[in-house]
């Protein structure tokens, strides 16, 4: 039997596969250098311990693999922590508009603090409404981000809850979280299909997981869409109940040779390097869609080319397809 233990440079155990009832009497530890710390291998296989060559081979294989895994997870933690901190910062700062100065609030009793907030709402109901709508949008984003994290790291292990849903309402529900940002860039959202059609042609899907796919899609769209343009949604269903949802927009140029690479984890578009992002969104979209047996294709149209603030924008169509 082999067990592993990773220690940092202070000798503290970072992770360990040793069982709770581990008894070291039959086991001999052997330490390897790993990154800034050490990897301790415990084995009761005396034959293995006697063969120095095999142990060196184990060290050669384990060390780079474990260092790579460690680095991968550090990068993942950084990316998620960054997004959560951003959302948490926005929530906190916005709520301060109503409940400012927590230090002062701590010096009065709760009912007094509540009266101060109630008074603020009464004096300026529009500003209070603005705070509540903002908080609702960002809370929705937090939920989508947590769900992205689960899809990314647990994926197929997640249990699906598949039910028929109206795709128009589902999209509108997500779009509301991005309303302020699309409005800031003057991007109109136009539906070319009615609610009746979406209601009669419901799609069987896991609501939370598809929500997450669309959340990541719009989170990308709002960063790459050309300001002062239009985003158009079309929905068609053929006789075989095969649907196509097309989202057409003028957005940052995607090169033909990178379309497939956009779905890779960590890949960032050649023309998107200047825009904040971690290259996770498109991967989550593809994975979330695949979990629902749907697919997404990108169809760029280079005949339409517009420059906005030195960036080349083309007409990009994103086609989501699958069976109802």
């Amino acid at each position: 039997m082999i067990y592993l233990q990773k220690k940092n440079n202070r000798g503290e155990i970072i992770f360990s596969s040793l069982p709770r009832d581990f008894s070291s009497s039959n086991y001999q530890p052997r330490e390897f250098k790993l990154g800034n710390g050490t990897l301790v291998l415990f084995t009761d296989d005396l034959l293995l311990l006697k063969r120095a060559k095999i142990l060196r081979k184990v060290e050669e294989i384990c060390s780079p693999a474990l260092e790579f895994i460690q680095e991968y997870f550090i990068q993942q933690i950084k990316a998620h922590s960054h997004t959560l901190k951003k959302l948490q910062g926005q929530l906190k700062q916005k709520s301060e508009a109503l409940v400012e100065n927590p230090m002062l609030a701590a010096q009065v009793d709760y009912s007094h603090q509540r009266n101060i907030v109630a008074d603020k709402i009464k004096k300026n109901p529009e500003a209070a409404a603005d705070v509540f709508i903002y908080l609702q949008k960002r809370i929705f984003e937090v939920e989508a981000h947590i769900s992205s994290f689960e899809i990314l790291h647990m994926g197929e292990e997640l249990q699906l809850d598949v039910r028929p849903h109206n795709i128009r309402r589902l999209i509108l529900n997500i779009l509301h979280a991005f309303q302020d940002r699309f409005d800031e860039y003057h991007v109109r959202r136009t539906f070319k299909f009615e609610d009746d059609m979406a209601e009669s042609k419901k799609i069987r899907l896991d609501y939370k997981i598809i929500n997450t796919a669309f959340y990541n899609f719009f989170d990308n769209a709002v960063k790459y869409v050309k300001p002062y343009s239009e985003m158009v949604f079309c929905f068609d269903v053929d006789e075989g109940n095969y649907f196509k949802l097309r989202v057409k927009m003028k957005s940052l140029r995607i090169e033909k040779d990178e379309i497939q690479r956009l779905w890779e984890l960590g890949y960032r578009g050649k023309n998107a390097k200047q825009i904040d992002g971690s290259g996770v969104g498109m991967y989550v979209i593809k994975k979330a869609l695949r979990m629902n047996s749907f697919d997404m294709q990108i169809q760029p149209d280079y005949s339409v080319m517009e420059i906005y603030e030195d960036s080349q924008n083309i007409s990009n169509e994103f086609v989501i397809s699958g069976c109802l």
Partner: protein, 150 residues
């Protein structure tokens, strides 16, 4: 060389400027600029608290009017500086502002990355603040940075 024979140009010299004390910068006369591609409510909170503050998505160059009138500038780490440095982004903006204006402007790097990517380049800024800080922390930072303006 005669050390006592030097030329002195009195043209344009205003005697009042020599003796005038350096104006103390604060809420009433300081201008705070945020360079960030995303909106953060702290800017509107500062305005409500009586500060002159504004967010711009990016700058064209460091002579931009918004930059030249600002006293304290908060610069995001990523997504800005397209016209200054494609490679360095926010750090490029900070380096350029510090090179052009020195300590007449204080530049704060504010980022969600601030706590775990403290590379040498990030220390080009006068100070750093995580993006998820309280408005109180922003005000404290602004007040202490204003005192350091030379």
């Amino acid at each position: 060389m005669n050390l006592f024979n030097f030329e002195f140009n009195f043209t344009g010299l205003n005697i009042r400027n020599i003796f005038r004390r350096k104006q103390k910068l604060g809420k009433n006369n300081a201008y705070i600029l945020f360079i960030d591609d995303e909106t953060f409510p702290v800017v509107e909170n500062l305005v409500k608290a009586g500060w002159s503050a504004r967010r711009i998505k990016d700058i064209k160059n460091i002579q931009d009017e918004e930059v030249s009138r600002a006293h304290v500038i908060f610069v995001d780490y990523k997504g800005v500086g397209r016209n200054i440095s494609e490679q360095d982004q926010g750090i490029g903006v900070i380096k350029a502002i510090k090179a052009a204006y020195g300590d007449s402007k204080r530049v704060v790097l504010y980022s969600g990355y601030a706590r775990f990517d403290l590379s040498m380049d990030m220390r080009k800024a006068d100070n750093q603040l995580p993006k998820n800080s309280d408005t109180y922390e922003f005000i404290s930072m602004i007040e202490s940075e204003l005192k350091k303006i030379k």
